[in-house]
Symmetry: C2
Subunit: 334 residues, 2 copies
């Protein structure tokens, strides 16, 4: 492997030693696509692969952050370290906390074995999933043994982000148990375990039953997702969630599933990096005048979108440029 520049080597060394300031800086490099971010990421990547990546997803208000706080507390008691990556823009971890959440999270924030980071969710389409995967690699390299990724399980790109996780808990409330809705949102397919949180509310058992029924419609595989009841605000039932994650990892490892998931996740990351580079190289070689001209034809409806695309792809994309280019954002902003 080529040697990264000294500034990168130093940041990597400090990150690998668990230096929190270095870690925060490394993550910012990735989020901002800093010039040396790729070298940094590659260097960290080769030291990663030990952490378990747990997804926690579900609709806003399901209590995902409270559950994560409980899970982290339990992992810490078991001697694990934990990083929280909040991709959910409505998460208290992202700063939108009510006072109560802040107080509960306070204890985590003071613990050197815990690291909390929220991801900026604006930016180019696709960028979010790539950044999340890369940030997890850096946290993994920094030695955190559990990485909890919080996503809001409604949108399409959030489902893509959730695929960064090796095992995913879908968190619902009794009322959202209505299996059909969850199924439509793709949550039924993504969940390795299901949690009905706020189970002290009416209808929890009925909600769990609806989820179980919906799961029966899913193609049967090597794993039957359990449906658990919790009241995360009181810590009730959370130990069982930790156990369910452990059991699922044991199941995955026993049949080569963990390796398959990791391979698929890496292929996904590789695809996206390649797409960004090809696009950057292509965009750099289209003369500005030609771009504007074709866009005019499109706006005036003299050309269809596919015809416009064909007109712009007039020459081969330069491989040297694609190898060395910094990717550009996928889309213009209003």
């Amino acid at each position: 492997m080529p040697t990264p520049p000294a500034s990168v080597r130093e940041l990597v060394d400090r990150t690998l030693k668990g230096d929190r300031a270095a870690l925060a800086r490394a993550i910012s490099w990735i989020e901002n696509e800093a010039p040396d971010a790729a070298a940094l990421q590659d260097a960290c990547f080769t030291h990663s692969g030990r952490a378990r990546r747990l997804g926690v997803t579900g609709p806003p208000g399901a209590g995902k952050s409270t559950l994560i706080t409980c899970l982290v507390r339990l992992y810490r008691r078991r001697g694990e370290t934990a990083a929280i990556v909040a991709v959910d823009p409505t998460s208290p971890f992202s700063g939108g906390a009510l006072l109560g959440d802040r107080v509960r999270m306070g204890e985590l924030a003071g613990d050197p074995g815990v690291f909390i980071r929220s991801m900026a969710t604006r930016g180019s389409l696709g960028g979010l999933a790539v950044h999340t995967a890369q940030v997890c690699d850096v946290l993994d390299a920094a030695g955190f043994s559990r990485i909890l990724i919080e996503t809001v399980g409604v949108g399409q790109s959030e489902l893509e982000v959730a695929q960064t996780a090796e095992s995913t808990a879908v968190v619902l409330v009794p009322e959202s148990g209505d299996g059909v809705q969850a199924m439509k949102a793709g949550l039924m397919e993504i969940g390795d375990l299901f949690v009905i949180n706020k189970a002290d509310r009416e209808g929890a058992e009925r909600g769990a039953h609806a989820v179980r029924s919906a799961l029966e419609l899913r193609a049967r595989g090597d794993w039957d997702p359990p449906v658990l009841l919790t009241v995360a605000s009181q810590g009730t039932g959370v130990e069982e969630v930790v156990e369910a994650f452990e059991t699922h990892f044991a199941n995955l490892e026993g049949r080569g599933g963990l390796e398959r998931r990791r391979r698929l996740g890496l292929e996904q990351l590789l695809n996206q990096l390649l797409r960004d580079r090809l696009w950057g190289a292509f965009r750099a070689q289209v003369p500005a005048g030609q771009w504007a001209e074709v866009l005019d034809d499109l706006v005036e409806r003299r050309l269809g979108p596919n015809q416009a695309a064909e007109r712009l792809i007039a020459r081969p994309v330069d491989a040297e440029a694609a190898r060395s280019i910094r990717p550009e954002p996928a889309r213009p902003r209003r």
Copy 2:
């Protein structure tokens, strides 16, 4: 422009005449990326540009579908025709309706001046925004004068989809008025008008006030988004929403804003089409053996992701292939 094949010409002709079966088939071609979808889309596109595209977005449960039903009813009374494109997987228009919604929607479904279509929300990242834009072009070409796009305003890609609209209403309920949360989800930036629905509930005025306060933090432009109160289930306040859309369009047209938004939307579509084609051409020219080998190096952590990408980009991307290729899905599925 090159002449499309006869089968495409026939489908386009029937679609332009408003034949509903043809329209449904044309939309399916686009969603399934059928072999002649590009020719079809280009042919329809050159006949589009007359419809107004209205976005209706907001969290699940805000009453977007009920509001859309009311809006369509009012537009019909004004002599307009209307198409509804439901991108929200939890929308009753997508089939997840409670009985009450179905009954209310029944009258729309029987009206020849109304067309309802829900979009499949699984598939490649980016595909959804492209498909939605293309489907709107086809509906526009088919003569619908108002196109209402329903999205759930939480996820990243949904915000991208929402940018297909020329004017967007953000629908909230009194309790979600809490400006900070909405702001974080990017809703404050995307809204041209704001609707506090279910305003017969407690706290509607307070919710409206919170939204107005949050809007004051937004950079002031040429348009101050109004905040309206509705009870869509009773039809209360909906006339004012129609008027607000009209006023916003008049404002946009008066300062060239509509043209700017359309241009940006088309540029976004063009970018995504180009990215898909470049990727398809590239992927087709990498030998399967080399791909697997580099992926092995990545999985074994002998290479970092960026190094792996650089190794695969070994030759220029063939322009002829990129022009003619059918795009492949962006990402593998688990």
